[in-house]
């Protein structure tokens, strides 16, 4: 019963987010601030993780190729497929659920605890539009982060493969270009957009409707990470079934 109530409350929140808009000049400022807080500040950790995970994928593939018939180009091919199809869009989103999701929940939750949300409501401001809408718009730039992740993941694979002596540069690059299907990029970016909506709204819901004090803000952040991750994984499965099978 509680889950049904929560689902209903989530959709009612979405309805309020898109009703009674905040003044455009204020909204523009808020969106730019959120782009900085949610997107720009995430780039270093995304770059670091992507580069090294791409390298690990290339090394793991190389180490598991003990049959001489299998061409070395497979290392580049496997790195590209792993990074573009799953690592960059899905697993990077799980990492972002930890970084961005907890930030959103704790910042909105703290505002709830310290009556800042009540202050917005008393002033006649649609607090959900003021707080959540700029986050949704900012996270529409999230595919840009995924492009960076894809590029650096493949780059990491190339560096690890070539510098580790597992594959020649030309073989790796040939593998990266082998059997490339542009539709897979559409699939990756489509699901990234769905994940970005989940990343913006589920943590916001957790923070906005939390009750209690500082301890509950911490609990809400943990719940936010758990539920955002669960929804991303579930959405990933459904989208994959719909678009690839």
């Amino acid at each position: 019963m509680k889950y049904l109530h929560d689902i209903g409350s989530y959709f009612l929140m979405l309805k309020r987010v898109f009703g009674s808009f905040t003044k455009t000049s204020v909204l523009r400022h808020l969106i730019l601030k959120e782009i900085n807080d949610l997107i720009i500040t995430s780039l270093p950790i995304v770059a670091f993780i992507s580069f090294f995970v791409g390298g690990v994928v290339a090394i793991q593939t190389a180490l598991n190729m003990d049959n001489p018939i299998i061409p070395k180009t497979l290392i580049g091919f496997a790195t590209r497929q792993s990074v573009i199809l799953e690592f960059a869009p899905t697993f990077m989103s799980i990492i972002m659920a930890g970084k961005v999701g907890s930030f959103i929940t704790s910042s909105i939750g703290s505002m709830r605890v310290t009556e800042q949300i009540d202050a917005l409501e008393v002033m006649g401001i649609n607090s959900l539009n003021y707080l959540v809408f700029p986050k949704i718009v900012a996270l529409m730039f999230y595919p840009f982060v995924i492009v960076v992740s894809m590029f650096l993941g493949i780059m990491g694979g190339w560096v690890a493969g070539v510098q580790g002596g597992f594959v020649s540069s030309s073989d790796f690059l040939a593998g990266v270009q082998e059997g490339f299907i542009p539709y897979q990029l559409f699939y990756a970016f489509f699901k990234t957009l769905v994940f970005s909506f989940i990343l913006a709204t589920v943590p916001s819901w957790q923070g906005f409707y939390m009750k209690g004090g500082a301890l509950e803000v911490g609990k809400a952040s943990t719940n936010s990470f758990v539920w955002t991750s669960v929804l991303i994984i579930a959405a990933n499965y459904i989208i994959t079934q719909l678009l690839l099978s």
Partner: protein
């Protein structure tokens, strides 16, 4: 003027407000007092429209809040200033931005005009040279004064204060009380203060409403409250040793 007619509010099976009738006068500091759990804050949130009463009506001047559509309620809220218990200043904004916030949201004047108005109200609450500081960098008393500045910057017609003295030393509390009363008189606004501080009642209680277990059991002025024989009120007023001793002295003198 705010008029309240037979307001009831419950949470689940628990009845918090059980039919409140009263009027809050324009140009006066109206105090709502009572013990913790008497329903003061719920009553305040009903007045603000944050809680919807199940029964009863709340009139802002001539129109009941229950009869207003969303747009009318939004317009009404632009005329309301609110001082929250903890100040509720926005952590991510500096003092200047906090005070300027209602102006940015509801007016289309130039930024320099906004800045002039912000500096004027900060000066009015006796705060200067703090514009670029953040809420965490100033004391609790200063935060309350910034919150008052934010509440009055848009020239509201109604000012609500939820326990404005909580967490403040007696001297700072008196300064805040006097500031609220001065602003009320200067701007001829309807001010409602929720408190359980008897010092505030003595200082600024031009009209005092006493709540007990969701019922309005007494109302009068700060002069009358010390003369009333109402048992609940006297128990509340003379619960502190200081006031008991004052009463003993008064009785001896009489």
């Amino acid at each position: 003027m705010i008029k309240v007619e037979n307001v009831h509010k419950s949470f689940g099976d628990e009845k918090i407000l059980k039919g409140i009738n009263t009027e809050f006068d324009k140009g006066k500091t109206n105090l709502i007092i009572g013990q913790s759990g008497s329903g003061k804050t719920v009553f305040l949130k009903c007045l603000l429209g944050l809680f919807k009463p199940e029964q009863g009506r709340i009139y802002y001047e001539d129109k009941a809040i229950q009869d207003m559509d969303d747009e009318e309620q939004r317009q009404l809220r632009e005329k309301i200033g609110m001082l929250f218990q903890g100040g509720a200043l926005f952590d991510s904004m500096n003092i200047e931005e906090n005070v300027m916030f209602p102006l940015r949201m509801f007016t289309n004047r130039k930024k320099s005009d906004h800045l002039d108005r912000v500096n004027a109200v900060l000066k009015r609450v006796k705060l200067e040279n703090v514009n670029k500081k953040f809420p965490a960098e100033i004391s609790g008393g200063m935060q309350k004064r910034v919150a008052i500045a934010r509440a009055i910057v848009n020239e509201p017609r109604f000012l609500f204060c939820d326990e404005p003295n909580s967490g403040l030393d007696p001297k700072t509390a008196t300064i805040i009380d006097n500031l609220i009363q001065e602003i009320t008189h200067e701007n001829n606004i309807t001010t409602i203060v929720v408190t359980h501080d008897m010092n505030s009642v003595m200082e600024i209680g031009e009209k005092v409403v006493f709540l007990k277990e969701g019922l309005l059991v007494w109302q009068g002025t700060n002069q009358e409250i010390f003369k009333t024989d109402h048992e609940d009120v006297t128990n509340f007023v003379y619960s502190s040793d200081l006031f008991k001793k004052i009463r003993e002295v008064q009785n001896k003198e009489a």
